[in-house]
């Protein structure tokens, strides 16, 4: 419990998950509105408890606000440069997923690994190249060749399959 006079800690971030949960519960109720009771029962029981819990959290936060223990500021922690790095890294992973169907799994993963390691400050070339090349090849070897998972393929995978003489499944 914060002492009187101490700086209130920002707490708006604590409302994100309850907000998502409530929003999802409302959407759930909306989609089951005209369905039979069997389809609704679970949502009503769980959703009901969830709404009650979020209401309790809201009451608690109002009390803490009035006591000036918390403020409505928003903070997920971390300094600005790290948060920028985090966003860029997430963007790179998103880019990899978007690029997968276009250029294939191996180059997309290799590109993402190389760019991410560079972004995070890796400058040791043998490590950068080694990890960025060996890891996608391991993924290709174990998941695509070994297990037969149908990952998106591009020219690199076609070449690799051609090299080992394995048939490429469409």
């Amino acid at each position: 419990m914060a002492r009187q006079g101490a700086t209130p800690t920002p707490a708006a971030q604590e409302l994100v998950i309850p907000g998502l949960a409530l929003g999802f519960t409302v959407y759930f109720f909306w989609t089951v509105e005209e369905l039979a009771w069997e389809a609704k029962a679970n949502g009503i029981v769980v959703g009901g408890i969830l709404v009650a819990l979020v209401a309790l959290l809201a009451v608690r936060m109002v009390v803490q606000l009035r006591r000036r223990q918390i403020s409505l500021g928003f903070s997920l922690g971390g300094d600005a440069p790290t948060n920028r790095l985090r966003l860029l890294l997430f963007g790179l992973v998103l880019l990899m997923v978007l690029a997968l169907p276009v250029i294939g799994t191996v180059p997309a993963l290799a590109g993402m690994l190389f760019a991410s390691m560079w972004l995070l400050g890796g400058r040791h070339w043998p490590t950068l190249l080694g990890v960025a090349i060996v890891t996608p090849l391991l993924v290709w070897g174990t998941l695509m060749v070994g297990i037969g998972t149908r990952f998106p393929v591009g020219p690199v995978e076609r070449l690799l399959f051609l090299l080992i003489g394995a048939p490429l499944e469409d």
Partner: protein, 504 residues
Amino acid sequence: MELDAAALADLFARSFGLWWAIIPGIALGLLVGVLPGFSPQNTLIILLPVTLTMSAEAALAFMIALYCANHLSGGIPAILVNIPGSAGAAATCIDGYQMTKKGQAQQALVLSFVASVAGGLITSVAVLAMLPFLAQIGLIVRSVEMVVIILFGLTLIAVLATRDMLKGLIGGMFGLMLGAVGTDAVYSTPRATFGLLELYDGMPLVPVLIGLFAISEALIMLEERFSATPPVQTRAAQWADTIDGLWISLRYSWQIVWTAFIGLIVGVIPGAGAYIAAFVAYQQSRLFSRTPELYGTGHPPGVIAPESANNGVTSGTLVPTMAIGVPGGSTAAVMMIVLQYQGITLGPRLFQEQPQIAYGVFVMMTVAYLFMIPMVLPLARYASRVVTVPMHVIVPLILGLTVVGAFADREYLFDMFLALGFGVIGYVAIRSGYNVTSILIGVLLGPIFERYLLRSLRIGQGDILVLFSSTLANILWGLLILSIILPLWRDRQIARRARAAAAP
């Protein structure tokens, strides 16, 4: 299947036959335990595509071996460089690192290995002996009780694994709601699918797991630089030190036994886990010691107690997973997901429907610990070369491999996007004090909860009061309410005492 000598011998023979899955599991578990940042659940997540293609028994043997070995090797960096390789080894740092500073690194490692292996072995055998009683649960527990058990399990996780019970409960309920996505069981009408065909079968567990655990954790790890305390220069490893370590372990053998049971008991409680068990064991060991002042200065029982307890947890955690279908922790949740994909539903009926799995789990665990004995003792001589993988390599590897792994299960690109979405949810959840384990366990148990709830309501002809119609269910409701009220009452007492102490 009765657990008689012949059945037990058969299970042991089958488990030894799975050596090809157990030995790589142990090797990998030992390796990732030494690397701070690689949790066993992350390793299991990265290897999900591989385990999903194995038979249920082989996948289970591999996962269990990896899990147990990871609990053992987490103590290595704790002893040598004062960084716990896993959360359960945090308490080992206190005396382990002090022993290293005193030039007894090798002895400390041997103590840790012996305590871990013996603690794990003792408790897995103890659980095996208890299993015939646990199997009876399936005959007593019905749908009504299962509804309460699931809610009780989620409440315990909220109370024990999170700092804020209310947030833990909200996380668990949010998970249960997400678990209700998909077509309903009776009329197959879609619910909360956002019009996406990919969600008609329900919320896919693998991308949820990857997002909540691996992606969110990797994003948080960016702030850690693993600025390890430089390893203390130790003299060359000698076999004499290993033997000395074995001798000290023998002197404290009773300590190994009783602290292992602390681990087992704590592990059985959903949401508790290795971290709590290790500290409870350390505290109890100090409490009952004749020389409590030596703790923290490199005292051997200070290494034995947490290591034995955190391996006692391994079998304890799997007890609620097997017996009631509520995973005791995050690694158990990952195992449960893999088994669900194999068509195996854990829970009270498992002992009747697939006894070879229910009993086999603990036999596999015993066998894994037996295999570890010859593997870990020589390791003490070479373990001093602890490698800390830099953050700029670990984070991209976790992100890349797990996101790619999200595709492998259903072969939908959508699952990769879903994993990223849950990664953001997990990151926000962790940062704002919500527990991702309770969300995941909610999603995992959501469909099971709905099934039992509907069955109960049909029995009660739609009357919700059916949930209060049995004595056992009512006792469980009582315990559930107590588990919510007691921590609140305790917190108020602590706050009152603190106010009284602060008053002039």
